[in-house]
């Protein structure tokens, strides 16, 4: 029998959404909902089916899990500032995905990895929305011969707030972090003052929204394909297109400037709208990565340090989003 996938912080907004997506896509995949509050975890587990609940505490060295509790992969959906989660994954030799770290926060993970490189696959996925906006941008890069700039934008509707955990991450990053990281003509740059805040994203309603740069690992991943480009991740708040039920949606925009395959200058923009909001888009990304990390349909990755694009091909992310009814649509840009 397969050991379950452990969702640490599984009762939170992201955890419950991720669990629901995994359950719907893989009815046979057992889930282990781990949380401080066993009653809540139990409630979610019984709703899901083929799931168990267990009490876990990130402040304890082994998270408080007895050795008899086995699992095949771990998703850390709460902010674990002491990394007992990674230590436990390494002790058990199972893959682990972390979703909270901005680019400037990767050092503790690198140190744990370097100490025991053969223990676990560690996926660094502090990207926006489980890496999906980054993968969407990457999916269009083969249409370019050379890339001068990539701008990935995320637009939050004021009526679709970030989940509490994600808000804590954003507050911590804004409070203690350095200015946002971006790539500028191949040089790693910390954007200051207007360089960070003087940006615009256009909503699907045609409204130009003030936007600011986010220093998340999306930049690092995209630099793999466009090492000499300007790469920026931007966020804005404003009214999004509403779904049929009137709920606020979440929007992702991808803008790429460069030369197309015939060498002509090309500036294009695409948009993806998730009518279920920002948390659901993030959960989709996490579910996709977790499926690969847990080896649900093919062999799990060998121990190592990974970014999402190492485990999920951009075109596979696009196909999976299409199955959820989400399409990346190109827009005509005003000259």
């Amino acid at each position: 029998m397969t050991d379950p996938v452990l969702l640490l912080g599984g009762t939170g907004v992201m955890g419950a959404a991720t669990a629901g997506l995994l359950r719907a896509a893989h009815p046979d995949l057992p889930l282990l909902i781990a949380a401080r509050d066993l009653d809540r975890a139990g409630g979610l587990a019984s709703t899901l089916g083929n799931a168990r609940a267990v009490r876990a505490d990130i402040d304890l060295l082994d998270l408080g899990l007895p050795a008899s509790v086995r699992f095949s992969a771990m998703a850390v959906l709460v902010r674990d500032l002491g990394y007992n989660s990674v230590r436990l994954a390494q002790a058990r030799g199972v893959p682990v995905v972390l979703i909270s770290e901005a680019a400037f926060e990767l050092a503790p993970i690198a140190a744990l990895y370097a100490r025991r490189p053969a223990a676990s696959a560690i996926l660094m996925m502090g990207h926006s929305h489980g890496g999906l906006p980054m993968l969407l941008a990457a999916s269009r890069l083969p249409e370019y011969r050379s890339v001068r700039a990539i701008r990935v934008g995320v637009i939050f509707d004021p009526d679709d707030p970030l989940p509490p955990g994600a808000q804590v991450d954003m507050d911590r990053i804004a409070g203690a972090g350095p200015p946002p990281l971006a790539l500028r003509q191949g040089r790693w740059s910390w954007l200051r003052g207007p360089e960070a805040t003087d940006h615009v994203l256009t909503s699907s309603l045609g409204v130009r929204l003030p936007a600011e740069a986010y220093g998340l690992p999306d930049i690092l991943s995209l630099a793999r394909w466009a090492p000499g480009a300007d790469i920026t991740l931007l966020g804005a708040e404003g009214a999004t297109g509403r779904g049929p039920d009137g709920r606020p949606a979440h929007e992702v925009t991808i803008e790429i400037e460069g030369e197309d395959l015939s060498g002509r200058p090309s500036t294009r923009r695409w948009r993806l709208i998730d009518p279920e909001g920002n948390a659901m888009l993030g959960a989709r990304g996490i579910a996709l990565a977790l499926k690969a990390l847990a080896g649900v349909t093919k062999a799990p990755p060998v121990p190592g340090l990974y970014f999402p694009e190492d485990l999920v091909k951009p075109r596979d992310a696009v196909s999976r989003l299409a199955l959820w009814g989400l399409d990346l649509r190109e827009e005509t840009l005003q000259p």
């Binding site: 402040d59 500032l81 002491g82 990394y83 007992n84 680019a103 400037f104 926060e105 990767l106 050092a107 503790p108 690198a110 140190a111 744990l112 990895y113 370097a114 100490r115 490189p117 660094m124 203690a176 972090g177 350095p178 200015p179 990281l181 191949g186 040089r187 790693w188 740059s189 910390w190 690992p217 690092l220 991943s221 630099a223 793999r224 090492p227 190592g304 340090l305 990974y306 970014f307 190492d310």
Partner: protein
């Protein structure tokens, strides 16, 4: 056939040149390339060192300006926002070591390795390239459990680290004024505003200091499991200069934990080098280069991310540091 040389970028600088001399002492005749932007300066340095050749380095060129000449390893003593030397090393499967990266700046280096894991990549940017961590791990052998590690460094203001070190310090503290600290098992970015920092020098003098976070914090957290780890730096007159002698560099190491008898112990040591910070840094880098290039006759390590303590045994470093004139002194605790 001639051996491929070791490339030292910034090899004309204070630490670079001393590293070259340290390698010259242990491996006479092993070819060295002294690289820099200024060819005349690189050649002038190389002329003082047997079997060394000066070369002009262009960090923006994929081949660094070296053509297709092979190198055994690359060490860079200056900061490079484009990571050109790392990309060059990985493209040739050559080991690379850098010592000028702040903890918050680590992400692009990690990403470069993850994207192309072809060679050892050494994250050498600990205090004096590993001098503090290696000495701490040496002293930690007296403990069965370490709870708290407090590192303090005294840099004499006459002990010029060279323009590269000055530029690092200015960049690191101006971009990100917060320093990573482990507090009760959780990472925390500590700012100067939170509390005044006082460093007690080896002679007991209280000096005004500041929180700083080279990779020591994450390295020691991964290696020791201590729950409280911090590093503070004071710049001013060192203890020896206050006593009327020449300047020195000081690393004060406070350890609290439990020893082999089960007793709670607090120890305090000072590693002091009478010729300042450069000889300790150069020794640490030289030992790491010897290891990654396989000059020590052991099999060279495979591709991976390494911190200094993953390459150099603490006893080896401490023994060589003492032989080079450093002293490791036990001090009274309980001030």
């Amino acid at each position: 056939m001639s051996l491929p040389p070791i490339l030292l970028i910034g090899g004309s600088g204070t630490v670079g040149k001393q590293t070259a001399l340290a390698l010259r002492g242990t491996h006479p005749g092993y070819p060295l390339l002294i690289g820099g932007r200024d060819l005349a300066r690189a050649r002038a340095t190389a002329a003082e060192i047997e079997a060394a050749e000066g070369v002009r380095i262009d960090l923006a060129a994929p081949d660094l300006g070296l053509g297709d000449r092979a190198v055994a390893a690359v060490a860079i003593f200056v900061h490079d926002d484009s990571l050109g030397s790392l990309a060059y090393a990985l493209s040739r499967s050559a080991p690379h070591i850098g010592i000028s990266t702040g903890t918050f700046e680590i992400a692009p280096t990690i990403a470069a390795y993850v994207h192309r894991p072809s060679a050892p990549v050494v994250l050498g940017s600990e205090w004096l390239a590993g001098a503090a961590v290696l000495t701490t791990l040496h002293l930690a052998k007296g403990f069965v459990r370490l709870d708290r590690i407090a590192l303090s460094a005294v840099l004499d203001d006459q002990d010029i680290g060279g323009p590269a070190a000055d530029a690092d310090y200015a960049r690191l503290t101006s971009v990100s004024p917060a320093a990573l600290t482990l507090v009760d098992g959780r990472y925390h970015w500590r700012t100067q505003a939170e509390s005044d920092v006082v460093v007690h020098a080896a002679d007991g003098e209280a000096m005004e200091g500041f929180a700083y976070s080279p990779f020591d914090i994450v390295a020691l957290a991964a290696q020791t499991g201590a729950k409280d780890i911090r590093l503070d730096v004071a710049v001013g007159a060192s203890s020896t200069r206050r006593a009327g002698e020449a300047y020195s560099t000081e690393i004060l190491i406070d350890l609290e934990g439990v020893d082999h008898t089960g007793a709670s112990v607090h120890t305090r040591h000072a590693l002091v080098h009478p010729r300042g910070q450069a000889p300790l840094t150069a020794l640490a880098v030289a030992l790491q280069i010897e290891r990654i290039a396989g000059l020590d006759d052991a099999p060279p390590p495979g591709p991976g991310l390494y911190f200094p303590e993953g390459l150099v045994a603490p006893e080896l470093f401490v023994g060589r540091a003492l032989a080079s004139g450093a002293s490791l002194i036990q001090l009274k605790t309980g001030r």
